[in-house]
Amino acid sequence: MSDRLALERARLGAHRGLATWGERTVPLAEFRVAAAAAGRALADAEREVARRALLERPRDPTPVEGPFARIAVFGGIYSNRQALAACLADAAARGVEAVYCLGDLGAFGPHPEACWPLLLEAGVRSIQGNYEQSLAGGRDDCNCGYTDPRDNHFARLSYQYTARNCSPAFKAWMGALPARRRVRVALDAENPGNELLLVHGSPRRVNEFLFASTSPVALLSMLCAEERCDGFLCTHSGLPWVRTLPDGKRVANVGVLGRPANDGDRRVRYAIVTAGPTGVDVEIVKLAYDHDDLAREMRAELLPEEFVETIESGWWTTCLEVLPSRERGLSRF
């Protein structure tokens, strides 16, 4: 037997009867006794207090808007003026009483400031996304929450272009937007309806990604309970989904207007929320728009061809590493 194999065999058998305590080995019983003595075992009542303390949040002073019988909710415009215009027309045709934007006005697309007058003219009720927080705060990064270097490379290109092409007045307006809104969706003023919380990433973090395959029902229920709401709507991750909780509450990610939903379909997504007799109905709308015009403008602005390819193909080419395994498995790249 070679020396190396002998050494390997010795290492494999090195811990017989011993525990590893930091860098030392000690008799197993010594570790177990020390571990059992460490920490605290609370009484049942104390445990309940500890759990409540973790979950309890101060009451949210955000005013409740509405009631409205039907609203449109979108997020992630990403400077896609063409999709924004199509969405506003589509929502008006569906008879909505209010239009909400969940933030991230800029990113992959051209001429970010061109969306501003459309939002103002239509009376869109907006909240801040991480983009608005970063642009208004003069930060040097979008705080999208990516961890992969390639994702961050393209996120930087997007953000730097957007920051260069937004006026101080537009950035100041972004800085004055609220971080969240609340809206009552009800059939009429006599009906209690449902109070929905509107956020960018999640109720607890502006850049939290809530994907369908990684957002447990128990987590969504806990967030609704903490926020004392009948459901919430978010965006940020780029992929839409709707979930009904065991108690009937609705939680949805409304997707984004700015780029397709990574399924080979060039249409973009937003939500129509309608009051019903027993709750709200959330419909994810697939919206066609003039993507050729957008692609032309992006190329004229010399934006990365990867971004244009997504608009023209319906498949994401960047910012993919953040996708959970299931969503990534359905993706082309």
Partner: protein, 329 residues
């Protein structure tokens, strides 16, 4: 690397009164090991609140492993019973307690989790009823049959199943120098078996070789994975913790490598994983996945006992802060 705080929320003031786990005042050390003289005074040791219990880890493979890697920060081996395998019945009460606390993701590690005869049953239960699950494996036990069963679990669950396979080099020579003879051949066969059933693992590599983290080093891993049938290779790099076997291989921490009050700077400490996660072993709840071989890092028998702040008194805490480490994928 992004190091955003784990929550936008302010700290809840009523939880600050709980004494931090692992504080020098309460830490137990083996009698044979004198307390390092460089431990900062208790008053200067910073601590981290738990903002949300987002990530729940299970040392479901104990410290038992079919390898004995020279860099293992918990010194796992075929004979290391410091922590034993966890049964499904042991895991379930923590899943229920965690779900009620709003856990977002579940991680299963060891040791080698697939030495646990109930590992697949645990993954099936979690992805069906609790949330997304990630299992961290050395890949040696990923035979074609097991991979087919894992594929079924991944398809049938409501939530995502992710598999992380550890490699420490893109070839047998560099990998096996750390992980043992034959490890590369068996792990890469396991990765190929996953690819054959359409599962795309995240390969985790440590920076045991300085080149692994460079663009060229990563490209070598990507090329290997493509050759194994992975069209969209995924790679996570982790720095080394100079504890356990790694302390013998590369030397222990220097005395200055400890956190003190003020070290947080503008970044703060809320980016640390102890701000949003806990680790469950067969012996109770530990503050994080790194410190399961430190009895003083045990916080109590149940999750509710472990919701208080964690003291950043261990030198490994310095690595987490300095390198922005998260054990999450």
């Amino acid at each position: 690397m992004q190091r955003a705080a784990n929550s936008d929320r302010p700290a809840a003031p009523d939880r600050a009164a709980v004494p931090p786990a692992l504080s020098p005042a309460t830490s137990a050390r083996p009698p044979s090991v004198p307390a390092p003289t460089s431990v900062p005074a208790p008053s200067s040791v910073p601590s981290v609140r738990l903002a949300d219990l987002e990530t729940l880890w299970f040392q479901v493979g104990g410290t038992l492993c079919n390898l004995a890697c020279t860099h293992c920060f918990v010194s796992c081996s075929p004979t290391n019973h410091t922590h034993e395998l966890m049964t499904l019945a042991e895991v379930v009460p923590f899943l229920d307690e965690g779900a009620a606390l709003g856990v977002k993701e579940y991680y299963f590690t060891g040791g080698e989790p697939f030495l646990n005869p109930e590992m697949e049953a645990i993954l099936a239960l979690v992805t069906r009823s609790y949330g997304p699950a990630t299992v961290l494996t050395n890949g040696l036990l990923l035979d074609p049959e097991r991979c087919r069963r894992l594929r079924a679990i991944a398809e049938e669950g409501d939530y995502a199943l992710d598999i992380r396979v550890s490699l420490d080099g893109p070839d047998a020579e560099s990998n096996d120098a750390v992980r043992g003879p034959g490890a590369f051949a068996r792990a890469t066969a396991g990765i190929a078996n996953l690819a054959a059933v359409g599962l795309n693992p995240v390969v985790t590599a440590t920076e045991v070789d300085d080149g692994n983290g460079t663009p060229e080093g990563k490209e070598r891993f990507f090329a290997l994975l493509r050759a194994l049938g992975i069209a969209k290779p995924r790679l996570k790099l982790l720095p080394l913790f100079r504890i356990g076997a790694e302390a013998e291989r590369a030397g222990a921490y220097e005395s200055w490598q400890r956190l003190a009050a003020g070290d947080e700077g503008d970044l703060g400490f809320d980016h640390l994983q102890c701000n949003s996660g806990r680790m469950v072993t067969g012996q109770g709840v530990w503050v994080c996945p790194i410190l399961v071989n430190e009895p003083a890092a045990r916080m109590g028998p149940r999750l509710a006992d472990a919701l208080g702040p964690a003291a950043l008194s261990h030198p490994a805490c310095w690595t987490c802060h300095a390198y922005g480490v998260s054990c999450r994928t």
